[in-house]
Structure formats: C-alpha cells, structure tokens
C-alpha cells in the first residue's frame, strides 16, 4: 500500500517488516526520527523487538555485537559523530562476521558543529568491512533495508544503509509499504551459522597470532567479493516479488553519452532533472548513480563509463589532502583501462549546502568546456572569505 511517509519512517517500516529482534541505538540528529518511530512500534506492539536505549553509540554497537552473536537479527541507526564514535566496533562487527544492519544518516563532522548532510562520515568508514548502500529516496531506503538483511545474512557481513540528512531522512514521499506476508516471502527468519549457546559452547573474539590472522582477513575479503556477486541475484528475487530493482549502479542515457555525471544519494534526483533538460537541448549527457559503494562494483562502473569522453563526479564529501572520495574510487576503477576518459572531480553541497539544478548545470558546462581537468577537485560555489 502506498503511504506518504518520511524517509526515516521508511527505514523504521522496513525494520518492522524485517522482524528485527533487538534494536540498540543512541539518539543523534538527524537519525532521531528513525529511533522514535521504532520506539513507538515497540511500545504499541506492532514490532515485537527489544529496544535497548544504551548510553552511547559505542555501546549501541557493542550490545548488538553481543545480540547478533546469540543469533538474533539486530538493527541500529546513527549519524556523523555517532558513527565516528562507533569506529572501533565497526571493524569488530565485520571481523566477527555479524550481519548487523545500520541506517546511517549522513551528517557533517565537527567542528563547525553541523547537523546537515555530508557524506564524509560514512565514507571515512569505507575500510571497516561494512557493505555500504547509498539511497536516493524513501522507497529505495525501505527496499534497501530489506535487501540488506538478505545480503548481510548470506555472506555474514554487516550492512550500512546510507541516506542523506533531512533531504531524505526528513522528507515525506509516497512509499509503497508492503504487507508482512510479502516481505516474509522475500526475507525468511535469520538462521545464524554460529551462536553463543551453552549447549554447544564456542569462544568468540580470541587472541589470534600472525599465523592465522591473515587468512581470517582474506576470508572477509572473499565475503565482500561474494556480496558483489550475490547482490544481483538478491535483486532478481526482490524484483520478482516487488517489481522494483536498483542495480549496483544505475545508468541513465550512458550508452551514447559524451559526458557522464556520477552521483550518489539525493543529488541524483536533482541530476535526473538536469540531465533530462540537457538531453532535450540535444546535449549528449548521461548519469550514473552509484548505489553499492562497498564492495565497489568496479566492472559495472567501468562498463558504464569507459566509452564516454569525460566523467564528472559530484562529491558531497572530501578527503583532505586527496580529493572527493567517489572521484578517487572512480579514477582507480578506470586507471588500468587503456584510453579511459578523464575524471573531473567536483565538490558540492558540503555540510548541507543545497546542490541545485544550477550547480549541476554549471558542473556539466564546466566539464564540457574544459580541455582537461584543472585540478583533482573543483569546489563549487565557494564564497570569498
């Protein structure tokens, strides 16, 4: 049934439909609506889960590592500073091979105390071994949370479902909220491969010497590869039931495009409009939306981008001393292909600044009129200070 819900509620509805057993979270703007909705569902009995109101984000994830180790489906949500506080245990979750799902509402990091959207928080966690899926709208958020449990539980890795602060978390849109039975047919109860059980005692989190640590890490790397291979199959099943699919990347008008814009999150929606308008004017422009960021879909990215003349990546994030993070990854994906197109990196919308159709249009024109990239990153709309 289609309902007009907030992005945050789309997350909460998906968590309810996934029959999560334990939720553990600490409030932080702009994640709060997610935990408020979930608290309400627990209070009115529509979600039979234990909600642990812990004393920090660090403990939120620590507690869920305990919960998931007993073999129970677990969920948390956080943003910005909260995610940074969890950092140690993000590594632990993937190392312990626990399929915890987290909704991560992108928020800028302080100082410059800022609650608005910026992707640097989640991208700073790209090496923690979490699968990362970036979402564009409320429907995609709901669908992605359900897919995240399937994918994570299949390969035993945690999954971060990432959404933009306010532009997505606090925006109301019509969302198809499926029936419980329909979701059950896609997402069966969690069958853990190992668990804490007095009848079959196991030890988790042991001291590991150089003798075997490397092999353990390699198995995580293999699980990431498996996730990349399995995601399309999970989407096949999802599509059969729900008649929707997203792909690891989505390519719009890319086949004959001279210039392809690369976007993530809600900037994609605005870019769709810009690209449609430019196409109407006869411009050969395409759009590639990146959804799956970890594991990075190198082959999909290459096949979409390789035949274009120029690539323009819009990053709402920045790695100081290097550049926009998506641009770096796109460059790395293309660098071994002979004659690959040059990659232009644009920094826009940092700390919640609006990325309008004008900004995206300017990015397109700048790329079109430039012989070669002037710099690793071009900061859009900087004011004189």
């Amino acid at each position: 049934m289609k309902r007009v819900v907030e992005g945050s509620q789309a997350v909460a509805e998906a968590v309810r439909l996934a029959r999560v057993g334990v939720i553990s979270a600490y409030p932080i703007t702009p994640q709060t609506h997610i935990v408020e909705f979930l608290s309400e569902y627990c209070a009115n009995g529509s979600l039979k889960a234990r909600f642990m109101r812990v004393e920090s984000e660090h403990s939120a994830l620590a507690a869920l590592i305990g919960t998931a180790s007993t073999g129970v489906r677990a969920f948390t949500a956080t943003s910005g500073q909260g995610l940074a506080l969890m950092h140690e245990l993000l590594h632990w979750t993937s190392g312990a091979r626990l399929p915890i799902v987290m909704a991560e509402v992108n928020r800028a990091l302080a100082p410059g105390w800022n609650i608005w959207v910026d992707q640097t928080d989640s991208l700073a966690q790209r090496d923690t071994g979490w699968i990362q899926l970036y979402c564009e709208n409320g429907q995609e958020v709901l669908d992605t949370v359900l897919q995240a449990y399937r994918l994570g539980e299949l390969v035993n890795l945690p999954v971060m479902v990432v959404l933009d602060a306010f532009f997505l978390s606090h925006t109301y849109e019509p969302v198809d909220v499926p029936e419980q039975e329909t979701v059950d047919s896609f997402l069966p109860p969690y069958e853990p491969k190992f668990q804490l059980d007095p009848k079959d005692p196991c030890a988790f989190g042991s001291l590991v010497t150089p003798n075997i640590y490397m092999e353990m890490r390699h198995s995580i790397a293999q699980a990431m590869d498996d996730a990349l291979r399995c995601f399309p199959y999970i989407e096949d099943e999802f599509e059969k039931i729900f008649d929707r699919r997203y792909g690891t990347v989505e390519a719009l008008y890319c086949d004959d495009a001279d210039i392809i814009l690369v976007t993530t999150g809600t900037i994609t929606s605005t870019s769709r409009q810009v690209v449609n308008e430019l196409r109407a004017e006869g411009e050969k422009v395409g759009l590639m939306k990146l959804k799956l960021f970890r594991p990075f879909p190198v082959h999909h990215v290459r096949s979409v981008l390789i035949s274009a003349k120029k690539i323009a990546v819009i990053d709402r994030n920045f790695s100081f001393g290097a550049g926009g993070i998506f641009a770096q990854e796109i460059r790395a994906a293309l660098c071994n292909e002979p004659g690959h197109p040059p990659v232009y990196g644009y920094i826009a919308g940092i700390g919640g600044r609006d990325v309008t159709t004008d900004v995206i249009g300017e990015i397109y024109r700048r790329t079109k009129n430039s012989e070669a990239p002037e710099a690793e990153s071009i900061w859009m709309g900087l004011q004189e200070v």
């Binding site: 334990v22 553990s24 642990m52 180790s69 073999g71 677990a74 804490l196």
Partner: protein
C-alpha cells in the same frame, strides 16, 4: 561460630568438581585473577554466557584455535564487556520469546579487570546497571593494567609503583586513592553488590551463587593478587589475599538491597606493613607515607562499619516506617 566457619566445615563438598575454565591456559605462576575466574565459573555452572573485556584473562584463556573455556564466551574489545553482556542478554531473551531456545535460565556474566571496569569500562557498566539487565558483572581487580605491562589505573592504590606511576627521586608512586566502584554500584540501586577475594574461596563462591539468583543486575568486586605486577613471591598469592582483608584494606562485605553486612569479620586489624612488606611495588615508601595510608585505611574501614551499623535495607524504608515523621 560465625557463618564462614560453618561453610569451611561443610561447603567444600558441595563445590562443583567440574572445571569450566580448564587448565592449560597461559596465566603466570601464582596468578590470583585466574584463580578467581576459575572459582567464579565453578559457582556459575554450565548455563552461562561470559562477556569478557580485553585483558590478561582474555589473552591467557583464548589463543586461537584453542580455548580454556567450557562455557560460551565472547570477547569484544576493552571498554564494553557490560554493553556486550547487555546485548547477549537481550538476544537470549529474544530467542526465548520466539521459542527458538528452551525457556531456562542462562545467566550472562560480564568480566573485566580493574581498567576494563573502573576506567575505560565504567560508562558501559553504568549504562548496563542502570538499564537493569539480568547480568552479573565481576571486576577482577589486580590494581593496574597488568596485561600491557603494569601501568596505573584508577584501581591502583596510593603509593604503589607502576610503570606509569614509578617511584623516583621526586615521586612516591601512585598519587591518588583507589576508586570505590562497589559504592558506585550501590548508588545505581543494584540489589546485590559484594566484595570478594579468591583467598576466601567459599565466601566468593557463596556470593556468586547469591548474585546469580538476583533477577536483574548484580556486581562483585573481586580482589586478585598479581605476583608479576606487584613484584611479590608467587607462592604468597593466597597469603596476600588474606592479609589485605586482615589489615582492613579490602574488607569482604556484601550489600543486599542496600543493607551492608561484613561477611568476613576481622577482630583486630593487622598493621598494613604486614601486607605491604612482601610487595616490591611498595618498597620505596617511607614510614611517614605508610602512616598516611594507614590512617586512610582506618577511615575507610570505619566508614564501612558506619554503613553496616546504620543503614537499613531499602525494602524497609517505606513511608509507614516512620522516617518522615
């Protein structure tokens, strides 16, 4: 005849002969901490899940692929044994609710050293106790970060020399008094709080069994001798554990529902030199400095006696009881 003598006579036969923390682990000779852990496990029995903070006990019991544990055990970093324990408890409850495991009592036990309890783990411990999880938390306090090489913690006693509070020409070792975590736990309204020491094994076992029966959080602060860190002879571990109680430095007591009770009575406190002398960590202290510490020991002991004599059980403190007249 006091209660402890009764147990001395009769209880040893009732102690579980099975070992849940097996031999073959890598603890130092004379380790009081691993002895405490072993006794704790005997009292707990098989229906437990242990959430162990990083520390000596984690390192010595777990080297992959071997384990000394015969019960389910999980280690997740340093600062969060209480948070992990909370999550395990919530998970087990969810499994019972969904009918996936039998509806029987499985106790979750958080275990951490003094650093993992009193310093880096205090916030998580406070959170878990406040939330009221059905969990026993045991602090195995050997008064410094022994696993990393004898660095001071907030459990290190005044005057003790450690590698980060060394005694030197212008320093006399640790400059602060030991943090009183049992009191912090009582202030959380935890209905069973106790101190213990493996040198009094039956007292300790009895307390663990009592804590297990509590539906909700309980806390035991277990004093454990560390010959390596204290530079004391390993064969003196049990003796030092007795002396710390006999000098009144670490009295053995329990707080049930707010009511304090000494579980090991000491008729006449021995001078603290008896306890400090065999330990290298106190060797540099002058008689004046020892006197200052001695005064503090008396003061703390009297504070405890005051509570034992004066405080009522919380359940007695009803409006009708008359305090409000």
């Amino acid at each position: 005849m006091n209660i402890i003598e009764n147990f001395d006579l009769y209880a040893p036969r009732l102690v579980d002969k099975k070992e849940y923390l097996c031999s073959g682990h890598r603890a130092c000779q004379g380790c009081g901490e691993v002895l405490g852990l072993r006794l704790m496990c005997k009292a707990l029995g098989p229906d437990v899940v242990i959430a162990n903070a990083t520390g000596c006990m984690e390192i010595i019991s777990s080297m992959y692929p071997s384990t000394a544990w015969e019960v389910p055990w999980i280690h997740v970093a340093f600062e969060n044994a209480a948070a992990v324990g909370s999550g395990v408890e919530a998970g087990l409850k969810a499994l019972r609710r969904k009918g996936k495991i039998a509806d029987r009592d499985v106790k979750v036990v958080g275990v951490a050293g003094d650093g993992g309890t009193m310093d880096i783990g205090l916030q998580a411990l406070s959170g878990a106790m406040e939330r009221g999880h059905d969990m026993l938390f045991v602090c195995l306090d050997n008064e410094a970060y022994m696993n990393t090489g004898i660095q001071r913690s907030s459990g290190t006693p005044m005057g003790a020399s450690t590698t980060t509070s060394p005694a030197g020409k212008v320093s006399s070792g640790q400059k602060t008094w030991k943090k009183n975590v049992p009191e912090i736990m009582v202030a959380h309204g935890v209905s069973y709080v106790a101190t213990a020491c493996p040198s009094y094994p039956l007292d300790f076992i009895n307390k663990v069994k009592k804590a297990m029966k509590v539906k909700g959080p309980s806390y035991i602060h277990c004093f454990t001798v560390c010959p390596t860190g204290w530079r004391s002879p390993s064969e003196m571990t049990i003796k030092l554990g007795r002396l710390v109680v006999e000098t009144g430095i670490f009295p053995l007591y329990e707080v049930e529902d707010g009511k304090y009770r000494m579980t090991v009575e000491v008729d006449q406190l021995r001078p603290i030199e008896d306890y400090m002398k065999p330990q290298g960590r106190y060797r540099h202290l002058t008689p004046d400095q020892i006197e200052i510490i001695q005064d503090r020991v008396y003061q703390e002991y009297n504070k405890l006696q005051d509570k034992i004599n004066g405080l009522h059980a919380w359940s007695d403190l009803q409006y009708e009881w008359g305090l409000f007249d």
